[in-house]
């Protein structure tokens, strides 16, 4: 039982990372109806920037600065590559974000080099032992940070005027424009927010670990999360992220009992398998809005 609870706590930590990433996906999707495949690369770039800045500035200032820097990168990407394509097929815009992902990842990879880099986080692999249940501090930190950020994002949408504008634009773009909402600003803010969230997620994905060329694969696992939670549901992103994180860590933990013959751990596979199984039962799962089809 304690082993399982330990795995669950690790899963909640991992799930918080997914939730942050998935929030970014959902914010962009709500604004322009597109999945941004650039999120994994932005996440890795964020972690990389923090790893360069934290020895000089200290960890927390580096995290904030890194997040803002990636938000700025996302703004530039949105302005140069995405804005000219507004109104084209969503598939085309999604493919452009794949192109952005490849470029950002190559540039980031060049700076990562062959030596794994450390992010300089204060937690490392320190752990608490609560009655036999092992809780890693980095997982707890990720969970708390995700909770705070989710609350802030929710408050942003609820209480600020630009948040209201974004909700209006998500509901009906043309009607929002008719009411004086600047859809361009909405797009820009969504991308900047998604970039910031991706960078923060990257920091926690790299905490107690190291940044290598494959860090972005963590970001890919956020895609099953948004499919599971529904592309247009913020709540779905958070719940889906936590569920996928817990399932992944449980699979990782009990892998050797369940599949003794398989050498590679099945944990990394779990998000995709869960997604496929759920999709077989019902598409537009958990919290997503069922599409109304009109000719």
């Amino acid at each position: 039982m304690t082993e399982m609870l330990s795995a669950v706590s690790a899963g909640l930590g991992q799930g918080s990372i997914y939730a942050l990433l998935a929030l970014g996906f959902v914010i962009i999707y709500k604004a322009m109806g597109v999945i941004s495949f650039a999120q994994p690369a932005l996440m890795m770039a964020g972690a990389l920037l923090v790893s360069y800045w934290s020895p000089e500035l200290g960890f927390w200032p580096a995290v904030i600065l890194g997040g803002l820097a990636i938000a700025a990168v996302a703004l530039v990407v949105e302005r140069l590559a995405i804005r000219p394509m507004v109104g084209k097929a969503v598939f085309v815009i999604a493919i452009i974000t794949i192109g952005v992902d490849i470029i950002v990842r190559q540039i980031t990879g060049a700076f990562v080099g062959t030596d794994p880099r450390s992010i300089g986080d204060p937690w490392g692999l320190e752990r608490w032992n609560v009655g036999g249940v092992v809780i890693q501090q980095r997982h707890a930190a990720a969970f708390v940070a995700a909770a705070v950020i989710v609350a802030l994002v929710a408050a942003f949408f609820r209480y600020t005027s630009i948040g209201l504008a974004m909700r209006a634009a998500a509901l009906d773009q043309e009607a929002a424009m008719a009411q004086g909402v600047s859809v361009g600003v909405v797009f820009a803010v969504s991308w900047a927010m998604a970039g910031f969230l991706a960078a923060i997620a990257g920091v926690f994905a790299a905490a107690g670990n190291s940044i290598d060329q494959n860090l972005w694969v963590v970001g890919l696992a956020a895609l099953p999360v948004i499919i599971l939670g529904g592309l247009d549901s913020l709540l779905g992103a958070v719940v889906g992220g936590l569920v996928i994180g817990v399932v992944e860590e449980l699979a990782r933990n009990y892998h050797s009992d369940l599949f003794p013959g398989i050498a590679t751990n099945t944990g990394a596979l779990a998000p995709y398998v869960v997604m496929l199984l759920v999709l077989l039962v019902r598409p537009y799962v958990l919290f997503g809005t069922k599409e109304v089809e009109r000719v």
Partner: protein, 373 residues
């Protein structure tokens, strides 16, 4: 009644003329000339470049397949690498040595393992298709991405078939009527393989072109443009999405069976995780750069993508700040990988119809010369 009017090549009196395979005389001669040039290429080009061109021809088969699915039928797939892998392993299994380190059936007759690879990949496509019927657009893209991840895992673990991670297995040996094409004889290995790939590509291209201009092709276009509307008009969505997936996977399987023949060896890592995703993205880049929903565009795009490593390896002599060593930055490998992204973005922003679109504009310009339209 169909009659051609002399001197009026675009004047059709029957639908069949309009839909003809090569509907104008210049097109017929042009295609013939292209095929002749392509067939004579091994006599004119050095073997190392020929090997790259040959790879381009094989990739073109896969690109045509993806174009049938994504370009014609509008079903976005990031899982093409998975079907290529299924084809590659089926071919290697059918042709493999029964007593070797990895599984093999010992069927060395080439057409058998090429078609076998296509058929098994097509079956895999048919299994995936029901998901596609339920999902649309970007949902489908993510689900097919899962195929690459899960497939990559299975290939890595199934050591009996794939030789396991980092070890890999031998590719099938192309033998036809007792002649081994990988042995240098009167012609070198590269020349013989190039001709083999060219023949298979021409057959595949003609077949695809014929599908595109048949009832199935028109149904694909209807599904792509608006699937609900197509359904209302009486196009059976389930049936045609299934056909699209099966056809596309068949092409991917054939492509996979030949893709590693020149190297003689392949590893399961090529199809899973980051590398597998990159392979899928390369195929998407091919059809976007070449031209969506065109067969000739797929071929142009595939050859360009295949040439990309060669092009970027030539770069250091023009741009001295790019290093050819993998230890310095920026190096040619990074430039090459970024080029996929740059090309995708540049073509989508500035020439959405791809190389085919550029060709189309050039042709229209000269056709109506000296009038601009």
């Amino acid at each position: 009644m169909s009659t051609r009017v002399k001197g009026r090549p675009e004047f059709y009196t029957a639908y069949a003329q309009d839909m003809a395979f090569l509907n104008t005389r210049p097109k017929q001669w042009g295609v013939l000339a292209l095929i002749v040039v392509a067939a004579l290429m091994p006599m004119m080009v050095a073997d190392d470049l020929l090997k790259i061109l040959g790879t381009g021809l094989v990739l073109a088969i896969g690109a045509i397949g993806l174009n049938l699915l994504t370009g014609f039928a509008g079903q976005v797939s990031l899982g093409h690498a998975f079907f290529v892998a299924v084809g590659a392993y089926t071919a290697a299994w059918l042709a493999g040595d029964p007593d070797g380190r990895t599984m093999g059936m010992g069927i060395t007759f080439m057409p058998v393992w090429i078609l076998g690879a296509g058929v098994v990949a097509a079956v895999a496509g048919a299994i995936v298709a029901p998901l596609a019927v339920r999902l649309r657009g970007l949902y489908l893209a993510v689900v097919t991405l899962a195929l690459v991840i899960i497939g990559g895992f299975v290939f890595k673990e199934w050591k009996g078939l794939t030789g396991g991670a980092e070890q890999g297995r031998d590719a099938p040996v192309p033998q036809i009527f007792g002649a081994d094409l990988t042995v240098d004889g009167a012609y070198t290995q590269e020349q013989k393989l190039y001709w083999l790939f060219l023949v298979v590509l021409i057959i595949a291209a003609i077949f695809a072109r014929n599908i595109a201009r048949s009832k199935i092709g028109r149904a694909f276009s209807a599904v792509r443009d608006r699937d609900v509307a197509a359904g209302v008009m009486g196009v059976e969505l389930t049936k045609y999405k299934l056909i699209a997936f099966v056809l596309s996977s068949f092409y991917a399987g054939v492509c996979g069976s030949l893709l590693y023949v020149a190297n003689g060896y392949f590893r399961p890592e090529s199809f899973g995780g980051g590398e597998g995703l990159l392979l899928s993205v390369k195929f998407i880049a091919m059809i976007l750069i070449g031209g969506v929903a065109t067969v000739s565009g797929s071929i142009m795009g595939a050859v360009l993508i295949a040439l990309l490593p060669r092009i970027s390896s030539e770069l250091p002599s023009f741009l001295p700040f790019i290093s050819s060593s993998a230890l310095d930055h920026p190096n040619v490998f990074e430039v090459e990988a970024s080029m996929y992204g740059v090309l995708i973005i540049a073509f989508l922003l500035f020439e959405p119809r791809g190389l085919f679109g550029i060709w189309h504009r050039v042709r229209t310009y000269w056709k109506s010369f000296p009038f601009s339209y």
